[in-house]
Amino acid sequence: MLDDDDRRILRRLQADPSAGVPELATATGLTPAKVTRRLDKLREGGVVKGVTAVIDWRNLGYAVEVSLRITLDKTQARAFDEFLDAARQVPEVVELQTFLGRVDVRLSLIAKDLADYQRVYRDDVLTLPHIADIEALMTVARVKDDTGLPI
């Protein structure tokens, strides 16, 4: 189980993932040796899985982001697996999520513009297997963007 020292380290690291041991030690008031030990333990235990770079697709010319909410034909036993396998092959799909609720799967799709989106949607999305229904939500703005967990 985590204690307050672990939480302090994680909070600091969430705010600045590139912070090194000396910075973490200063920020948390722990000795560098202790920070190192704690970090090793958090990594070994799988609490900290790593650091990832966040790409801003708009700056690579992908101005359109659409959230596709998909209902699958569940009478097909392998509908989820076959749909997800096929969706992974579409390069413009940046995120796949499965749900319990009114929606079965959600795909985040990026495109250069609306014409490009139309092409990807027709050629690569509508041809995915076992789709019963699709709803599209277009992202207008990100008001709050993944600020992490309230540790």
């Binding site: 770079a53 801003d56 700056n59 390069p91 940046v94 749900f99 990026i110 939500l137 990100r142 993944d146």
Partner: protein
């Protein structure tokens, strides 16, 4: 900005693991350390790399439930949108707030300890927000991020 094949390989490597040193990244891509550093700096300056994010296991930290909420506002108008955005962004359990066009006005990502905790956040914090109308909840079962068109 336009990317060459090396930039694309570098971005893929950084999405996979941004914790590596430029020396090790360079070795992987067949670049010198200074060349790797220069390319990363260029990608950062152009805003292609928007930042770095710590990947944590929510369940191991006691957050067993992630729910996506589709929220439709009952009353619209400039003022109510801003009020809603400000209020909802201030809730710690709300990780992302997206303004969307379509069936809903906003899409929220909410983390909670369990379903009972989620219900508390939903009832006490979200349903009491100014202007909230229809709310649809979907519980996240699995999630996968893809490298994208690189």
């Amino acid at each position: 900005m336009t990317l060459d094949d090396t930039d694309r390989a570098l971005l893929r490597a950084l999405v996979e693991d941004a914790g590596r040193s430029t020396t090790r990244l360079g070795e992987k891509l067949g670049l010198s350390q200074p060349a790797t550093w220069r390319r990363i700096k260029r990608l950062q300056d152009a805003g292609v790399i928007a930042g770095r994010r710590l990947r944590l296991d929510p369940e191991k930290l006691g957050f067993g439930v992630t729910v996506f909420l589709g929220v439709k506002l009952a009353t619209k108008g400039r003022v109510s949108l801003e009020d809603f955005e400000r209020a909802v962004s201030g809730i710690p359990e709300v990780q992302t707030v997206e303004h969307v066009l379509g069936l809903y006005d906003y899409r929220l990502r909410v983390v909670a300890r369990d379903l009972a905790d989620f219900e508390r956040v939903l009832r006490r914090r979200i349903m009491t927000m100014p202007g909230v109308g229809d709310v649809e909840a979907n519980v996240l079962l699995s999630e996968e991020r893809r490298p994208g068109p690189l």
